[in-house]
Every structure is written in C-alpha cells, then in structure tokens.
C-alpha cells in the first residue's frame, strides 16, 4: 500500500540548521582540496583532515537531525529549503538550493556516520599502501559529493553532485590504476552509469521545459509540488504515458545506472577491483544507494496520477525492474568464488529489493531497507576486508576456511552481518526492513508475482550467505601461511556497525513504526494493534520459513566440508550446466560485448573510415588540386614564359650574330653595299620623280 504523502508546512525563515546545511558537503570537499596539495608522505595529516572534516559533517548532520526530530515531536512536519538563483537568463532563472526534511536528515546521518567509520577503518586497511594521501583526498571528495546529492533541493544541483560522485567512484575503483583490470573496471563503471545518466539528463531537461523550475520544493512553485505535478499530468507523452510518467521513467533510468539495476548492473561486480573500503563505502552503503534516494526524492513525480491504493506506470516499471534484479543477482551470487564478488552481487540484489520496495510500498519502505542495508553491508564488506587482510590478500573463498578460530572478532561481526542480511527473524534489522518490502508486495494491487520473486530471492540470499560463511569461517584452513586477526583500528568499526545492524531494526517494526511515520510526517505511536492481523503472522511465517530453509540447505551442503579449490563445488557436481551459467554471470557482459560494444567498435571504424576517406579525401583533393595547379603553373612558367623569353633572347642573339656578319671587316664588302645602296636610291628617285 502506498502511503499518501501529507503536505509539509514550509517555514518562512529557515532555521539555523537549514542555513548551515551547505557546510555538510562543503567541508569534506574543502578537505579534499587541501589534501590534494599535501605531499605523499604526509599521511597522518591527510587522514586527520579527512576524518576531521567528516566528523564535523557528522556533528552538523546530527544537529540538523535533532532539529528535525524535535520539530517532528512537536507535531510540525519540517521541510526547510534555502534556494538561490545561480544563473539568470532573461525572465527565466536557474535556481539551486538545499532542503532539510526527514528524508535528507536521516540520509545525512547515515552517510556521515558510516562514512566516518569507514574512514577510520581505511587508516588501518591502507596503511601499507604508498598512495595513502591520494586515497583520502578522493574519499573526502566522494563524501562531500554524496552529501551534496543528499541535501540538494534542485535537480540540477543533484545532477552535478551525482556526476561528481560518479567521477570519484571512477577514481577510486581505478585507484590501483597500474592493474589493467582495475583501469578497465573503472572505465566500465563510468561508461555504464553514463548510459543511465543520458536518460537522466533528458528527464531533467524535459522537466525544466515543462515546469520551468528544477527545484523540488520552493514554497509551492517547486517541481514536486502540486501545481507543477498537475501541469505535468495534463500533458500526454508517448505510449499512453503522461509527461509525469515519462519524466519519471527517464529519471529512473539514471537511478538504474547508478544503483545497478538489471540491464546496467554489469559494472558493480567489476568495481570490486577497488580497495575494500571503497567497496564498502561506495558500492554498498552510499553511492549505489544514491539511485534509491533519487527515486525517493522525486517520489511525488513518480506517484503523480495514482488513484487511491493504485500504482502508476512509472512505479510499476520500477517494481518489476527491482524484483527482476533481486532474483537475477541472487542466482549469480550462488555460484561465485570471490569473497567480494559474492557481496557485490548481493548488493545488486538488495538494491533490487529497495527499488521494488519503493515501487510497491512507498518512500519509507524502500528507505528503511536502504538504511539497514547500509549498515550491515558496510559491515560485511569491512569484514571481508579484514578477512582478506588476515589471509594475506587472498580473495578466493576456496582458499580460506576455519577462520572462526583465527579471527574470532571478525567472525562474530561478520556472522551478525550475515544474519542481518539473510533476515534472521525478529532480532536483526534486515528482517524488519525486508519484511516491510514483502508486506508491500503482498498487498500490491497490480500483481502478486513480485512477492514470490522477492521471497525466492530471500531464500537464495540466505543460501549463498551461508555458503560463503561456511567456506570462509567454518571447516579447516586451506590457504598458505597463518591467518591472523586484524588490528583494532579495523575491528572496532566492525563492532560498532554490528551493534547498529541489530538495533536499527527496532525503529521500523510494525509495533513501533517510528521510521515510517517520521518520514511521512505523521505521529508515531507504540501500538500492538497490528499484531492482531493474521496477514502479518503469515508474512512473518513466510519470511522465517524462507530464512530457515535457505540456512539449513546451505549448512547441509557446505557446513561440514571444506572442498579444496581444485575440487568442484557440491552444486557444480550436481548440476554442472546451470552452475556454469551462474558462474559465468549469465553472460550479460558477453551479450553487451557482442551487441553494444561491437556496434561501437564498428561505428568507430566507420567514423574513422569516413573521416579519413571523405573528409581526409576532401582535404587531400584540395591539396592535390593546389599541387596540380602549382605544377601547372610551374610547367607554364618553365616552358611558356621562360621558354618564350629564352627563345626571344636566343632570337635576338642569333639575329645579332647574323647582323654582325655584315661587319666583315673587308673593304670590298662595304664598297659593294655602298654601290648597291646607290643603285637602289637612284631607282627610287627616278621612279618617284616619274610618278
């Protein structure tokens, strides 16, 4: 059931918290700038700047959160905006601004808190890396950009920070750029998200053209507010959609790229080439969640035109894509052998859950899973990092084993994360957030299939996580050397995150739906009324059953044994062909290689041919014409002008020579000439006198 959003009251004058909100992203970005100027050996200083700036942002976020909570407790639904004009062009203006409301407050706290823990963790993880300073510079820049996405009140500002986030993701995935696979993975991430961003930009432009503003909330004039939405609904677009639906789908395309939904998910597993803290922060907790956050932000647009209890085309598409992604990625995760890759596919799958939750249940459902997922996925990644560190940079799970005795703290926290992800009933946060999604799926008006898909996905989640934990921590050690526990600077953040992985569930239970009501601005009440609904118990039973089945199958297949890397997996021996398909990631990359990339290569070659032959030919023919003209000129000059000139001179010389022959130097010759001249003169005289 989709919640009806209650109109927020916007205050006349923004409070201090809202006024200072811009500092939250600005300070980490400033820190990044400072760190970029530091020298490589200044490690302590760069780490201090980074952690200090994010700590400051955390404090400010908590302050803002407190402000919003106090407002909420007094019954005021707080949404404060600070907008300013950036570019004025004639009558129209491009405005930017930031917003402080429950959604942004929650997200701010989550991002800064998890980010801070990961920053502290990184000082330990990257201690042996020589590019320590550069790492923290990029991390700070990323944190600033992500926080910019969160507080943005303008779709344009959001897009700018969105791109900046993509850039820092590229820089961090390709952090070890000397490795060709890392450079390729960074490029792949950038290009794949670019595909989504093209559609995103189209949506932005369309929205601006249609409504004249890109601000979300602006005292009634914003694009997410009533008047603009009514205008958008009135406009029909193609395929039976209204403008609202079409723009919503375009924006979802951008979110799908960033959050790794089904056709554009291919970059996320490859992004594991980056250092593990990067995977934890960016590709588990925050950046990939940006897509989900974006959909939550533009939810009024996605929901516009929906009848009571019904869905819109845009939201239906979101749901189906999310559900498909959830199952698809979970299937592939079953057959992977790299510890981070399993977690990557798990992230893709959980993002699909979040999208499905948004589509079916509304902002609160999707966001709750986002928040809980951030904590336990970051925990799992950091735990994986700890394991990799302890196993001397080994990442193949078939070469691990028996670590529960060698790395007890890592095992304990990892186990908590795994149970949270799998949805251990009642105690762990993942259960409550996933349950919220399943409940929404159960009551979805359009179809029941997503519910079954998501339930199946939950089963698979439990199964592959059990498989992973069995391989890594149970059984006996199959690697080289001796595994050792990680230092305290790495394990303390794990503990803190584990605590939250358990406790966060409390704020979203049906008994006390604090989270949901906080987001929607309603009052929250502690009521046991929902416990009486039988549908609820059926749901809980289904979730528990799914979890138990997955866990037990996993334990039975993998619990006791520890197969070596050379031996095939249990499932592989049972069903080799399906295993092969899943192991090869269902050939999506290969499909792209054959279609899109081959097309690009062909287009590139065609363009090159065109450039060289047509344009190059035109230029060459001009040059050739000039050369021909010059050659003709030279020919004419040499043979015509010079020739005629030389000929003339020769003639003159010859005639001069001939004339000189008159001067024989002999007297008799002169005499003859004289006599001849006299004769001629006489004749002329006589004739003229006669005539």
């Amino acid at each position: 059931m989709i919640e009806q959003s209650i109109p927020f009251t916007s205050q006349e004058v923004a409070s201090t918290a809202a006024q200072l909100l811009w500092l939250i992203p600005a300070v980490p970005i400033l820190a990044a700038g400072i760190i970029s100027l530091l020298k490589q050996p200044m490690r302590k200083l760069s780490a201090t700047f980074a952690i200090g700036s994010l700590g400051f942002s955390l404090l400010l976020s908590l302050f803002a959160f407190a402000h919003v909570v106090t407002g909420w407790m007094h019954g005021l639904a707080v949404r404060e905006t600070v907008n300013f004009t950036w570019i004025q062009v004639g009558n129209s203006a491009v405005e930017l601004g930031w917003v402080l409301d429950p959604l942004s407050a929650i997200m701010l706290v989550m991002v800064t808190f998890v980010g801070l823990l990961i920053f502290i963790y990184s000082t330990g993880y990257m201690a042996h890396d020589e590019n320590f300073t550069r790492f923290f510079c990029f991390l700070s820049l990323f944190a600033g950009a992500m926080l910019g996405v969160v507080i943005s009140n303008s779709l344009l500002l959001l897009f700018m920070c969105w791109e900046l986030v993509g850039l820092t993701s590229y820089l961090l995935i390709g952090f070890w750029y000397q490795k060709p696979s890392a450079a390729a993975a960074a490029k792949k991430a950038f290009l794949t998200t670019r595909v989504g961003d093209v559609f995103f930009l189209l949506g932005i432009v369309w929205l601006f053209a249609q409504t004249g503003t890109l601000l979300f909330y602006s005292g009634g004039d914003g694009s997410m507010e009533q008047s603009a939405l009514a205008g958008l609904l009135a406009h029909p677009a193609a395929f039976g959609l209204t403008a609202a639906g079409a723009i919503g789908l375009l924006i979802f395309a951008g979110a799908a790229g960033k959050s790794g939904q089904l056709p554009l998910h291919v970059w996320l597993p490859d992004a594991m080439e980056g250092p593990t803290p990067v995977s934890a922060l960016i590709h588990a907790a925050t950046m990939v969640a940006a897509g989900v956050y974006l959909i939550a932000r533009v939810y009024p647009l996605m929901q516009a035109g929906a009848l009571a209890g019904g869905s819109t085309t845009a939201l239906t598409v979101v749901t189906w894509v999310g559900a498909s992604t959830a199952v698809f990625a979970a299937l592939i995760a079953v057959a992977q052998n790299d510890i981070k890759r399993i977690l990557a596919y798990s992230t893709v799958s959980q993002l699909g859950y979040m999208m499905a939750g948004l589509g079916m249940g509304g902002v609160a459902v999707g966001m709750f899973h986002l928040i809980t997922h951030a904590f336990f996925k970051a925990l799992l990644f950091m735990g994986a990092g700890s394991v990799i560190h302890g196993c001397h940079e080994e990442q193949d799970i078939r070469k691990m084993g028996g670590l529960k005795s060698d790395m007890p703290l890592t095992f304990a926290t990892y186990g908590i994360g795994m149970l949270a992800l799998s949805g251990f009933p009642l105690l762990f946060s993942g259960f409550w957030s996933k349950d919220g999604i399943l409940e929404a799926a159960q009551h979805w008006s359009v179809a029941r299939t997503p519910f079954y898909m998501l339930a199946f996905g939950a089963l698979l989640t439990a199964f592959y996580m059990t498989r992973q934990v069995s391989y890594v921590f149970l059984g006996h050690w199959r690697g080289h050397g001796q595994a050792h526990e990680s230092p305290k600077v790495m394990t303390w953040p794990l503990v803190i995150l584990a605590i939250f992985a358990i406790l966060l569930g409390v704020i979203g239970t049906p008994i006390w739906p604090w989270f949901q009501s906080f987001l929607s601005g309603q009052g929250a009440s502690f009521s046991f009324a929902s416990l009486t609904e039988p549908a609820l118990w059926i749901l809980w039973g289904t979730s528990a059953a799914v979890f138990i089945v997955g866990l037990s199958v996993g334990l039975s297949l993998y619990g006791g044994r520890s197969p070596k890397a050379t031996q095939p997996d249990v499932l592989e021996s049972a069903a080799p062909l399906p295993w092969r398909w899943l192991h090869d990631r269902l050939y999506v990359d290969e499909l792209y290689g054959v279609t899109v990339i081959a097309f690009y290569a062909w287009a590139g070659r065609a363009a090159d041919w065109f450039d060289r032959r047509v344009w190059g030919g035109a230029v060459s023919s001009v040059a050739w014409a000039f050369r021909g003209w010059a050659g003709l000129n030279r020919f004419l000059d040499t043979y015509w002008v010079d020739g005629s000139f030389d000929k003339g001179c020769e003639e003159i010389a010859t005639s001069g020579g001939l004339l000189a022959r008159i001067q024989t130097g002999r007297v008799q010759t002169y005499l003859r000439i004289l006599a001849g001249a006299v004769v001629i003169l006489t004749v002329i005289l006589i004739w003229s006198s006669r005539a």
Binding site: Q663, T664, R666, V667
Partner: protein, 103 residues
C-alpha cells in the same frame, strides 16, 4: 643614238668595269686601279656634257675635269702610299685577309 649618248654609254661602261674590278679583285692595288678607272669614266662624262651641253664657253666642265685629274693624282699618291705601308705591316696586299675590323 646621239654622240652624247654614245660617250655617256662608254663612260658608263668604263665606270662599271672599274667598279667590278674594285669589288672583285683581291689585290689592294687593283682596287685602286679600278678606282682610277671610275674616276676617268667620270671625267669623260664631264667632258662629254661640257662639249654637248648648253654653254661650252663657260668652261665649267673642262675646269671640273682638270681639277678632278689633279685630285685623282693626289689621291692615287696617298692611296698607294697607304697600300705600301699596309704591305709592310701585313706582308700581303690580299684584301680578303684584311678583316681585323670585322664584328
């Protein structure tokens, strides 16, 4: 043919012969001989015109002829002196070989 015409024809003939000799002979002295012939022919012309002209008592023609004879003599002397001097230098009187002034 009047007598005058006869004399004139003879004079013309002698003149032409002298001219031919002056133009064709190799020896420089022969050229001078030709010139003497031409001068004589001219004298004959003068005398013939004096005799058959309107005023023979004016003696114009005869005077002219006498002066012509005197000048011819002087010219012959100088010319032959030149020929002798040339012969001393070039050791020949062959006019065909005297082309130092050629262009």
């Amino acid at each position: 043919m009047t007598p005058l015409t006869g004399y004139l024809m003879v004079a013309a003939l002698l003149f032409s012969i002298g001219l031919a000799g002056a133009l064709t002979r190799r020896n420089a002295i022969l050229v001078l001989i030709g010139i003497e012939l031409m001068l004589n022919a001219a004298n004959l012309n003068l005398i013939a015109f004096w005799r058959y002209g309107p005023h023979p008592e004016a003696l114009t023609g005869m005077m002219f002829a006498i002066f012509s004879i005197a000048v011819a003599a002087a010219e012959a002397a100088v010319g032959l002196g030149l020929v002798i001097q040339i012969h001393r230098h070039a050791h020949t009187t062959d006019l065909d070989q005297m082309n130092r002034m050629k262009g």
